[in-house]
Symmetry: C2
Subunit: 259 residues, 2 copies
């Protein structure tokens, strides 16, 4: 008998968000699902972890027939607690994170709680996939990308490249039938141009509130932004190795420094 | 007359930490220094940014002759506010972050507030360097690495490879005379094996507190951990492009998915 895969599901929008529900429904078709997710929204928390405060973990009964826990920490905390406490000693076959409310394409990956949860699993040797839908509206329909999510999970479970692969999957806001397919891409070079909303609070103190506009500075046709703009789902194989290998040679000159 | 460089200084241990003081003293030898740093410790905040709450910024007079601001946000928030408000319209020549209390070598870069501040500058096109000292003690002597920090800053200001280079510099806990020099390295593969301290709080509720042990899984002699173990300062040229280019080909098979 083949052992059923064990799949850890998490997210950054919080355990009651719509996206995680869809992801659980798809993941449970493949094996045993355990959910450990934040008890409150954790968007833009990057790869934060909680070291100065204790964490709480509470079993919740909100997904029928599924072991689920809400955690007071960040998305990365959830994955650490799942691996080292909830699922201690068990082999996790896949970690899926999301479905995030909004894009994690291009540079958004570095701010993303969804992707930091997936990255945390990856660096602990667990294959991981973060899913995001390019829809910020409260009534976002997460089911549209589900048939593709199902196929991506199936392929990852069927044969992995190694231990701890990390995929950043973004889904255009389109009906399933209008999604043209999947493109495997590199991360586009883009950035946020910030504008701070400046104001005065009821106590007369000045405040600054982040807003901004995303600028795509990359006209490559091999990027995630290109794929999404052309009705494809983008898949960017990603890594926690931040070394910029093509600059190692240039910076060797620093080795000539002697006091 | 050559324009004096404008150098932004920030950190994650907070504006009153010992490390930033040393960094300011070195940076001010090269040009105009402006400090925007968190008003409280922000270790392990990863690349978190604050989007759901307003930020506060307060001018403080704690470094003689230096424009300094404390900010309620994360390290990445500090850099965004510096660029888009405090220094709006001015060209920043270099951003230096630190000196962090403790290592940001190997995988620690992904959790690091110090490095996320530097990365934020990098992705906004500003050359950036994060400095960390491998000393967690309250009485850490940040001055030991200062002569090397001076030379690294001088070299970066004298000639840059491009816009937005990012260096992760870690300094061993050694007297200056015992530091053998600088090694330009790749990020070592390592990870934290976590142990959660479990307890019961005064209200009878269970808590989990993160602790753990760092494991170096990489025996390469070209890594930052090797350099630090052998009395060298490690410099890892780093990037916010998380694409794992050598996996693009393998994952192309996902493009065969059609519904």
């Amino acid at each position: 008998m083949i052992k059923k895969p064990l799949i850890l599901v998490t997210n950054d929008d919080g355990i009651t968000a719509g996206g995680i529900k869809t992801l659980i429904e798809v993941a449970r078709e493949f094996g045993e699902v355990v959910v450990v997710a934040p008890d409150s929204p954790q968007s833009a928390k990057g790869h934060a972890i909680t070291i100065y405060d204790p964490l709480r973990l509470k079993k919740v009964d909100i997904f029928e027939g599924i072991d689920a826990y809400e955690c007071t920490g960040t998305p990365a905390d959830c994955v650490k607690l799942a691996k080292h406490h909830v699922l201690r000693g068990r082999k996790v076959d896949l970690c899926v994170s999301g479905i995030n409310h909004g894009s994690n394409a291009s540079i958004n990956i570095v701010y993303s709680g969804t992707m930091s949860a997936a990255m945390e699993a990856s660096l602990e040797g667990i294959d991981a996939i973060g899913f995001s839908l390019l829809d910020y509206s409260a009534s976002a329909d997460f089911s549209q990308g589900a048939p593709f999510i199902r196929e991506i999970i199936a392929k990852q479970l069927a044969g992995t490249k190694g231990t701890g692969t990390l995929l950043n999957v973004n889904i255009p806001k389109l009906p399933t039938a209008d999604i043209k397919g999947i493109k495997v891409c590199r991360q586009a070079k883009g950035q946020w141009t910030e504008n701070y909303m400046k104001g005065t609070d009821p106590s007369g103190r000045e405040y600054f509130w982040l807003s901004g506009e995303f600028i795509n500075e990359d006209d490559g046709k091999d990027t995630d932004l290109w794929a999404l703009d052309h009705a494809y789902i983008s898949v960017v194989p990603s890594t926690y190795d931040l070394t910029k290998y093509d600059e190692l040679e240039w910076f060797k000159s620093l080795e000539t420094i002697h006091l």
